[in-house]
């Protein structure tokens, strides 16, 4: 029998293919740049390294903060959507529908200038994190709700048959199964938060994108600036995706089941 027919590509094949893809992509970008007659000079960014670093840290800080708070919003509203009290259930469902059905940019303006001003929340950073959390929370709510619904009813019957209390059932049965199932989607959502945080620049939150806009107004090197922060955003999201792959492996048993 042909041993190569097990469907897995050889290492040489993998390396050559990666190099080919990289050459095509980089070549396409470099060609495009040369076609419009620009010479890239990244050294100009060097004098802004402190501001870029600050912006980079602020993006990480805002993303982490939003992730934690949006997890909280997501969990509360996911449970709320399943509530038997109709008022609670409707409220949570409408929240998810409206937030998911309107652009983040609109929400940022609306919440910051109308609701934020009306209720005296003037700090841009706190507002920014809250608005982003509200937005991402709606997506996380749906992820968590889907996770809950994917758990086989019989698991609860087993828990009942071995007399676990409802708290222990949640701790030892629901939570581990739920986490294993939603971790990959949550990681994806975290990557979205990192990218979406760039929109907070419109209310002058000095994160990576806003920093770059300010630098661009100073050095007029738009292309270098944006290519550079594009790479920084990718560095962040790629790290998240690597961590997510490791977590998925750890919960392998759940995925194979």
């Amino acid at each position: 029998m042909n041993k190569l027919s097990d469907g897995k590509p050889s290492i040489t094949n993998k390396i050559l293919s990666s190099i080919f893809v990289a050459i095509v992509l980089i070549g396409f970008v470099l060609l495009s740049i040369s076609l419009i007659g620009i010479k890239l000079d990244f050294t100009t960014l060097f004098q802004y390294k402190f501001r870029l670093w600050q912006g980079f840290l602020m993006t990480i800080l805002i993303s982490l903060g939003s992730f934690v708070i949006s997890l909280f919003f997501g969990l509360i509203t996911a449970l709320g959507q399943r509530s038997k009290v109709l008022v609670v259930s409707y409220l949570c469902k409408i929240y998810v529908q409206i937030i998911r059905g309107t652009p983040l940019l609109v929400q940022i303006y609306l919440f910051y200038y109308i609701i934020g001003t009306a209720w005296g929340v003037n700090n841009r950073y706190i507002s920014g994190i809250l608005i982003l959390s509200l937005f991402e929370g709606a997506y996380i709510s749906e992820i968590i709700r889907g996770g809950f619904e994917s758990i086989d009813r019989q698991k609860y019957e087993i828990a009942k048959s071995i007399c676990l209390t409802s708290t222990k059932t949640f701790k030892y049965v629901t939570l581990p199964i739920l986490l294993a199932r939603i971790l990959p989607s949550l990681a994806g959502q975290f990557a979205s938060i990192i990218k979406d945080s760039s929109l907070l620049s419109v209310i002058a939150v000095i994160e990576l994108t806003q920093t770059t806009q300010e630098i661009s107004a100073d050095n007029f090197r738009m292309f270098e600036n944006y290519i550079f922060i594009g790479a920084l955003y990718f560095l962040l999201t790629f790290t998240v995706s690597l961590i997510s792959k490791r977590l998925e492996k750890r919960y392998n048993h759940e995925l194979r089941a």
Binding site: Q154, E157, I158, K160, I162, Y172, H253, A257
Partner: protein, 244 residues
């Protein structure tokens, strides 16, 4: 153990599943047989305290079971339950599955629970499987571990809902052998099964359920030799048609 069922009725969304089920007898090992959809699993879940009937009375050794959640929780501690399939938690190893009720329901120390689990695994030839996850085990091994989990807590009554109907024939026997061994030790068991050979030879009594109620019950030797009701005669002639 004395089991008394008095006028048990149960319906789901107006669909009647059990209608006036009555039974009163001393039991050690009982097989519940009958056609699909006759309510076998439902009556087993009601006896196990996992479902509450719409009406009726259950007495175990003369004690009436109250259908409140608090008293059912206490009642279920004396009962082991084995499901048809996927009865283990997939995110836990075999050992973790077995010690879970010992530690978290019965408040046993972890070392004691582990030694109970080890003894059971050794005894039933599962020692090599103890650190595996359910998806690494055969269906037969999964069912034997489910039984081990159920008997680890030393229940007064073990209930099994078609424990072999999702298994290949070669695995069916290893599960039934284990069950037979537990029965001969005096563990009270009620098993819903389609394995007529097991019902006839290993179980002392048989309950035949059809048309939402118990049509016939009695000693398994009598039931299989001389079925009285038309329904049972028809049922047996169908299920035994291809028996070797």
């Amino acid at each position: 153990m004395n089991l008394e069922l008095d006028n048990i009725c149960k319906s789901f969304d107006k669909q009647v599943v059990l209608q006036n089920v009555c039974f009163h007898d001393d039991i050690t090992s009982v097989a519940i047989i009958g056609p699909s959809g006759s309510g076998k699993s439902t009556i087993l879940r009601i006896i196990g305290g996992l479902l509450t009937p719409n009406s009726g009375v259950i007495k175990i050794d003369g004690n009436r079971i109250a259908f409140t959640e608090i008293s059912l929780q206490r009642y279920r501690k004396d009962i082991g339950f084995v499901f048809q399939s996927n009865g283990l938690f997939e995110h836990m190893t075999a050992t973790e599955n077995v010690v879970l009720p010992l530690i978290h329901t019965f408040g046993m120390a972890k070392t004691d629970a582990l030694s109970i689990a080890d003894k059971l695994f050794d005894r039933f030839g599962l020692a090599e499987e103890k650190n595996k996850y359910p998806n690494q085990l055969s269906g037969g091994q999964q069912q034997r571990i489910s039984i081990a989990r159920a008997v680890a807590v030393k229940p007064k009554l073990l209930l099994l809902d078609e424990p072999t109907s999702a298994l290949d024939p070669e695995y069916t026997n290893e599960v039934l052998d284990m069950l037979r061994e537990l029965q001969t030790e005096g563990l009270n068991t009620i098993i819903v099964t389609h394995e007529m050979g097991f019902a006839k030879n290993a179980c002392e009594k048989v309950i035949f359920l059809a048309n939402n109620t118990i049509i016939e019950s009695g000693k398994s030797s009598d039931i299989f030799k001389a079925p009285k009701s038309k329904e049972l005669q028809l049922f047996l002639s169908k299920v035994l048609e291809w028996t070797v």
